[in-house]
């Protein structure tokens, strides 16, 4: 085997040293890291751009929708108010108290021995209506007080199937000073005042109670 002598070993060593220069290697490493950072930054920038574009579109959509939504809300309130008023009117019309049937019932129970001199009816309340009737008159007969009492009870009995909580009470019942002619006979009289009270219609539905925030 032939012997080789490397007379340039110093040159080769210097070249190897230059190749493995740590500063140079670290600069390469740093450049790679910077490149990665720049790439990541560029990606983030792109993401930001895309989200910005998306936000712009969403904002434009909202800017277009918001006035329409406001108009819609106003319109909804207006329509609801109109419909509520309409429903209320219909309800009021349907829940009216009819006086004619009540007058007819009074006519049916007043006997020929009684003359009604004054009739006052008063209606109060919404929904469940309270009706007060005051009936003043003159009763005649062998026992005029009984005639008046019969009328009082007859009114209560007649009204009970139609109305709620019917009460019929005498406000006054006094013997009359005058005698009247009934069936060809002179009979005594009594002066009475009857108060009739009853309820009609349905009670208003209670408003749902909103729970307050704690």
């Amino acid at each position: 085997m032939a012997l080789h002598l490397n007379l340039y070993h110093e040159v080769v060593k210097a070249k190897a040293l230059q190749r493995r220069d740590p500063l140079k290697l670290s600069m390469y490493g740093l450049a790679a890291v910077v490149a990665c950072f720049a790439g990541y930054y560029a990606t983030q920038l792109l993401k930001l751009h895309s989200i910005n574009t998306e936000l712009g579109k969403v904002r434009a959509e909202f800017a277009k929708l918001e006035p329409d939504a406001k108009i819609a809300k106003k319109r909804e309130e207006e329509l609801n108010s109109q419909m509520k008023a309409g429903d209320l009117i219909v309800k009021r019309v349907e829940n009216r108290f009819y006086w004619a049937p009540m007058l007819e019932q009074i006519m049916q129970v007043v006997p020929r021995e009684v003359q009604v001199t004054r009739l006052v009816g008063d209606l109060t309340g919404d929904g469940l209506r309270r009706c007060q009737i005051s009936l003043d008159g003159l009763s005649a007969g062998a026992d005029p007080r009984k005639v008046a009492e019969d009328l009082r009870t007859a009114i209560a009995e007649k009204f009970s199937p139609t109305y709620k909580t019917v009460t019929s009470k005498f406000r006054s019942l006094e013997d009359g000073t005058e005698m009247v002619m009934l069936d060809g006979k002179q009979v005594p009289t009594a002066i009475f005042a009857i108060n009739v009270e009853f309820f009609s219609g349905e009670e208003k539905a209670a408003q749902p109670v909103r729970k307050g925030k704690k």
Partner: protein, 183 residues
């Protein structure tokens, strides 16, 4: 391998530059970018429910508008029953004509009060006093029945019938009625 003084200086300088670059990258570039990204995303997320709510509102109103004609048919009928103009001008003659038609002359109508009901938007209630000085009980009761049937917007709140001294067959009637009119 032994490092020379100059090389050590270079390495220290390089490390310092490296730290500087990393710090600047995260604090001056990536930091604000991330903050802006988060802010934009927050705005985007916040707008989502608002858009959904706006769309829901528009849809709800459209649904109500679609169902309104059917629900408001009765209201339109009611409105059609109310004459135009001031009620003081048309209601008293209307009542007089009505009772005249029923055979009861001399009905006098006067306005008592006026109530604006907040629940009935676009309408108000007017209270009137109707005086019928000479009526027979049966024709009066018949007229009341007709009034209640023909005038659905009128309700009798108070009724008073008194016998008259001059004529025992005739009564003096007073009615307090309320009717719904346009606002």
């Amino acid at each position: 391998m032994k490092l020379g003084k100059e090389e050590v200086q270079k390495i220290v300088l390089g490390t310092l530059i490296c730290f500087g670059v990393v710090y600047s990258y995260f604090n001056l570039l990536l930091g604000p970018l991330s903050k802006r990204h988060a802010a934009l995303e927050k705005s985007l997320v916040a707008l989502g429910p608002e858009i959904a709510a706006a769309k829901a509102q528009i849809k709800k109103t459209q649904d109500i508008e679609a169902s309104a004609p059917g629900r408001m048919a009765t209201t339109r009928q009611v409105v059609a029953m109310i004459p135009e103009g001031s009620p003081v001008a048309w209601f008293p003659p209307r009542v007089s004509d009505f009772f005249k038609k029923q055979g009861l002359e001399k009905a006098t109508t006067k306005l008592n009060s006026e109530v604006v009901d907040k629940e009935m938007a676009g309408f108000r209630r007017m209270s009137w006093g109707i005086d019928l000085p000479k009526v027979g009980f049966v024709p009066f009761a018949t007229a009341i029945a007709a009034l209640e049937n023909e005038e659905p917007l009128v309700e009798i709140n108070n009724l008073q019938i008194d016998t008259t001294r001059e004529d025992v067959e005739m009564q003096h009637a007073l009615l307090t009625v309320s009717n719904i009119v346009k606002q």
